[in-house]
Amino acid sequence: MTELSHIRNFSIVAHIDHGKSTLADRLIQSTNTVSEREMKEQLLDAMDIERERGITIKANTVRIEYIADNGELYVLNLIDTPGHVDFAYEVSRSMHAVEGSLLVVDSTQGVEAQTLANVYQAIDADHDIIPVLNKIDLPASEPDRVREQIEDVIGIDASDALLVSAKSGIGIHETLEAIVHRLPAPVGDRDAPLKAMLVDSWYDPYLGVVVLVRIMDGVMKKNDRVKFMRNGTIHQIDKIGVFRPAMQDVAELGPGEIGFITASIKQVRDTKVGDTITHEKKGADKPLPGFQPSIPVVFCGLFPVDSAEFEDLRDAIEKLALNDASFSFEMETSAALGFGFRCGFLGLLHLEVIRDRLEREYDIDLITTAPSVVYHIFMKDGTMQELHNPADMPDLTYVDHVEEPRIKATIMVPDEYLGDVLKLCQDRRGIQMELTYAGTRPLVVYDLPLNEVVFDFYDRLKSVTKGYASFDYQLIGYREDQLVKMQILVNDEPVDALSMMVHRDRAEMRGRAMCEKLKDLIPRHMFKIPIQAAIGGKVIARETLSAMRKDVTAKCYGGDATRKKKLLEKQKAGKKKMRQFGKVDIPQEAFISALKMDS
């Protein structure tokens, strides 16, 4: 139990690769929180994928004890927040659990779009912000320019920004002192009823669900019976402690403190980020404000390449879902791809992370179908249906109108690529909201339909800017538009797995692209095959796969029979792997190539 005046809670806001994790490591190391021997690079990003991608997926936390130059001991709690917009809500909860932020900017690069979104979250949470210019020892470092940029773009005072090289250990002591002296102490009432915010939770195979909490008011102790106010469930605390960064038991957690509890909770699903925890008896009347349930916005199908791995996939998905309440799934069958799951994600990165974990940690080869968004289908009878899978689109005669999710996209791009980026956004039905300059770099803000972004926007943006653009987005709501279901017909038979929702104006283009792609992917048959894209009954694009004209072995005598027989066996086996649509055999590879998301 530490006095409020000697606690500082903070987070670090930074763009990927700007040195957030390295700085965290140095802070931990220089305060001897971890011995040399235990130190490994980037302590907080525990998952392989987090380390590889240089991103944080789950909030991590560490308690640092620091004896300041004034001789007093301070407890510094660092919450390392997820750095991506897919986890915007989680970020906002983490931000509300602390009082200040270090804004780390690479002094050789400057401010990036992603930094902006997170720093605005910090400002929204009323943080005091200490700018930190990192990589100050590199020749390309331009602290003056970057300081100016921070002031121009973010609008905070950067005149007393810290000059740091986390890698070389420069400015670490100054950073610790700044945390103590420039960030506020938390406030709270030890005698008030318990109010603890559920910041994050995860599943530990030995302990069950571990819950990360920030105590706002009151005191939490081992064996307390506590209530999760969202759904009223009662649990008894088995274990209470802090992260240093390993778990260390404590007797209690008081106001302003950050730590963990375990309470025989079996599923992460039972613990909602942002929920308020209080005592069963004499608890708080009202929860903390700001709770939102997490809602998946991007959906895609995940199918095992080898249908025999379906059960393995089910197990793996169930295990991942134990630890990730924001990830949803339901079984799906597809004529083209067999048995699999339709899965919902918070965004594209979330999708990629889950897919990577399934493939890597569970060793399952997956077919990932092109992601789609959740449409709101307003029926003529006044009801609304959520559409997760274009194949389920109801008959148009019953549909009044369709709404789609829109995002606010923030893109920073070097001047020379600005024209291309504007064109890309226009082509994707974007509406320009802002065009300003962050120092010398243009900053564009567009209102874009999410379905255009999940299609291939990222890849296009990367390619038109040679990788120099930075991009971030947030969901801003649903809006009506001319959205239609486009069907693909192969030899006049509809192929449901290839249906997609598209904007009416873009349908021809997308339809033509799909027909052309399929023409190359479907092998020639003994007859010609029309491949059509259609909306309702109307064909909007058509390609014809001409009939095979020649496929015969010129020479075949006695000894060749054996060889030909082997070939025939292969052809027969190959035919079994094809999916039949009417008289047309479509190889699974064709579906995979036509549907898959380019990674």
């Binding site: 048959h525 496929d551 029979a561």
Partner: protein
């Protein structure tokens, strides 16, 4: 004994593995050797004939075929010894067909009379092209003029003469082929084997193609057109196709090759020779070692077979389908059903008939199923469809 494989006839295939030079497109088992111990080869062939005939028992021998390699490089005495031994080992048919593949060079032409003397009554000349630059590209060591001379000598020496041409060659236009084939048809062969050039793995052409150095090969459309031109011209000149790549004056079909396509029986001797034999009601596939020295050694130690396996009914049915549908006369669906215990799908047959790729005809002997002219152009797909949907 399976009556049907007896009905398909019985032949002897003799493989002579040596060539003066290896052609860049050829994936047959051929070797270039400086010295060949002819005596060892005679002994080995005779030893194999003796061994196999003791297994088959007395059977009517319809054909002998000397293939290679370049069998026209064999000593005529070797050929004579093999023919005599085969005649003695089995019961020679009155009209036994004895074919020898020959290179149309001047050296070989000089031996034709001796081959005739040995009993050969049919030659198959590897002319390959009537265009000198293309002969060189194909790696052939003879010229068009030499080939024409050899053909004339053969025509005067043997009862029946066939020759091979390779078409769909690099940079060959429809007009080029029409002209060349017309010229070929004006020579008085009773049989023509007209093959589209196939680039096989493991050949010089295969390696060149893989490296992107084999240019000017026809695309599917040109290949299909060349095939149709071939059918038109040959039909008009009275040598209709009786098999995918083989054309003959009616009655002059290669009886030996028909044994393969009728899924009959044949003994295969020499390196890399395959055989199909029905013994005590069991059908066997036989194989021999490909390397000449290895085969000689195997024979010396008792048997030239490197492998002998029984063929299941299903496999026999597949072979029957693969081989039989190559013939314009087609197959008997009933025989397929007897072998495999499965029926070809009526639905598939109807579908393929609608597409004009196959046709059913009823004969006094029962229903027959044959690929049409356009069906033969896509025969691999037709066979795969039939085989995959049988049940």
């Amino acid at each position: 004994m399976d009556v049907e494989s007896v009905e398909g006839g019985f032949g002897l295939y003799v493989h002579w593995p040596f060539c003066a030079a290896k052609c860049p497109y050829c994936d047959f088992n051929s070797h270039v050797a400086k010295v060949v111990d002819h005596r060892a080869w005679v002994e080995s062939y005779l030893s194999e004939i003796k061994r196999i005939s003791s297994e088959t028992g007395p059977r009517v021998l319809n054909t002998i075929f000397f293939g290679g390699g370049t069998p026209s490089l064999m000593e005529p005495e070797t050929v004579a010894a093999v023919i005599d031994a085969a005649r003695a080992a089995w019961l020679p048919a009155n009209d036994m067909e004895i074919t020898l593949e020959a290179n149309p060079g001047s050296v070989e032409a000089g031996r034709f009379a001796a081959f005739r003397q040995a009993g050969v009554n049919r030659v198959s000349l590897g002319v390959q092209a009537l265009h000198d630059p293309d002969l060189r590209r194909l790696g052939r060591i003879h010229s068009v003029a030499e080939a024409r001379t050899a053909f004339d000598i053969a025509r005067n020496t043997f009862d029946r003469v066939s020759f091979d041409l390779i078409y769909a060659r690099q940079d060959q236009s429809r007009e080029d082929w029409r002209r060349e084939l017309t010229e070929a048809l004006s020579m008085t062969a009773d049989h023509l084997s007209l093959y589209q050039l196939t680039v096989e793995d493991g050949t010089v052409f295969g390696a060149r193609a893989a490296a992107g150095h084999l240019r000017g090969l026809p695309d599917e459309d040109l290949g299909a057109d060349l095939y149709q031109i071939t059918q038109d011209l040959c039909e008009a000149r009275g040598l209709p196709a009786y098999e995918v790549s083989n054309h003959a004056v009616p009655g002059s079909e290669s009886r030996h090759n028909l044994i393969y396509w009728h899924a009959g029986d044949w003994a295969g001797i020499g390196p890399g020779a395959h055989g199909r034999l029905t013994i005590n009601g069991q059908r066997f596939a036989t194989e021999t070692a490909k390397a000449p020295a290895k085969w000689l050694k195997d024979v010396h130690t008792g048997s030239g077979y490197s492998d002998q396996t029984t063929i299941s009914g299903n496999d026999q049915a597949d072979e029957y389908l693969i081989m039989g549908l190559r013939l314009t006369e087609g197959i008997e669906p009933a025989r397929y059903a007897r072998l495999s215990g499965q029926h070809l799908s009526a639905q598939t047959i109807a579908h393929l008939s609608d597409l004009g790729l196959i046709a059913e005809t009823s004969t006094p002997a029962g229903l027959r199923l044959a690929a049409t002219r356009s069906g033969r152009a896509v025969l691999n797909a037709v066979i795969a469809e039939l085989a995959a949907t049988a049940g």
